[in-house]
Amino acid sequence: MNFQHRHAAHCESGVVSSMLTHHGLPMSEAMAFGLSGGITFAYIPFVKVANMPLIAYRMPPKKIISGISKKTGVKFAGEKFKNEQDAQKRLDELLNSGKIVGLQTSVFYLPYFPQDMRFHFNAHNIIAYGKENGEYLISDPVFDQPMRSDEAGLAKARFAKGVFEPRGFLYYPTFIPDSFDIQKAITKSIKRTVRMMLKTPIPIIGIKGMKYLAKKIAALDVKNARYAKNFLAHVIRMQEEIGTGGGGFRFMYAAFLKEAASLHPKSYILLEASNLMTDAGDKFREFALLCAKACKNIETADLNLISQALNNAAEAEAEAYKKLSSLF
């Protein structure tokens, strides 16, 4: 099969853009991410992940697939299975018929995943594009090279249990339009994102959520050094480690705005907003750097400084959305 593996920052936007491109609707990862409204910020103290509050820089899993379907008219078929045998049989069938297939997997069980990057996250998206000598050919967007997996390993990853349980979930496009009204799609999705980031009435979402987290950081108890250190490291991980393309997806969104500018009559607004978003991403990285420095000597850390750095990033990002508000 003539399938081109593409290296991407994030799994879901990477899979979607690769699939559409393969099927004749060329799309960059940043465009898939932006059009589907993938960016967000949420600090949810009452949902715990490994004993830490949930901090998200992007929308929940499957949002990119559903968002892209809505904005472009692409249709996906999705299937879940009762057991590993049926799931593997169906995957083999689809591969034999020449399809490339999206799979939901757990990073903890994928055989090719580096040991120290393995955590229990069940919504990792990959593409299977063939089978050779009993091994699946895998295009995992967050790896620079195509990967391989044996049958048992992939079955385990597809049937991991727990939150976001995949149950062998696989998907493939069934309808791809020749074209769609991209200007309209850009305006519409940006409008949604701007409204969510600036106007959500709950104080834990959007710019307000960032400022809330900043307050929480300033109030961390450094005497409980173990917790304080783990908390700050957790924030960094969600922002930089989890396939974000740097700066908690802010650079990817800036790349989307720049690409959108070349397709939209109000390009000057989009270009300016892109630069502002890049500035926000840079400030998020400064914030991450300060968090890491503080962890190394947590007892004497200046938490106000870190808190202020996050506020600065929040302000910078708000500027980008305010600029985008003049689009509509």
Partner: protein
């Protein structure tokens, strides 16, 4: 982030792999640049891994001293916490916590033991006659 600012800190975590990052090149265009890792990110991931190792060690001591069943040890060893394990074996956290107690663990039936064994990738037999290898 400019293209020449994309960190190349040769993170050990990547085991030689590269990750894609978004950066601005000299002509002001956004590109995907491969990064060999960022020190800050490596530190954060290591902190999370070390925390699990520490929790595993603490649970190991409790197991060896007879204060805890192997469930708690195996949970942390498999990089799970209580909510994660609860969602995997489909039991309430408080119920699992009860199974941390050796006397409660010893009276567990095959069905429950099988759930735990599956979650930890061991056999029921191994779980019943549990030994810490190292």
């Amino acid at each position: 982030m400019l293209q020449n600012e994309v960190p190349q800190d040769n993170s050990k975590l990547f085991e030689g792999g590269k990750k894609a990052m978004y950066a601005v090149n000299e002509s002001g265009e956004y590109i995907i640049e491969q990064s060999s890792g960022w020190e800050v990110e490596e530190f954060a991931t290591n902190t999370a891994v070390e925390e699990f190792n520490l929790l595993t060690d603490e649970a190991k001591q409790r197991y060896l001293s007879g204060a805890a069943s192997p469930i708690e040890y195996l949970m942390y060893k498999n990089r799970m916490d209580l909510p994660t394990l609860a969602s995997i074996v489909k039991m309430f956290s408080w119920r699992i916590k009860r199974h941390f107690k050796p006397s409660n663990f010893d009276s567990l039936g095959e069905k429950i033991l099988l759930k735990y064994a599956d979650a930890f990738g061991v056999s029921v037999e191994n779980l019943k006659n549990f030994r810490i290898d190292n």
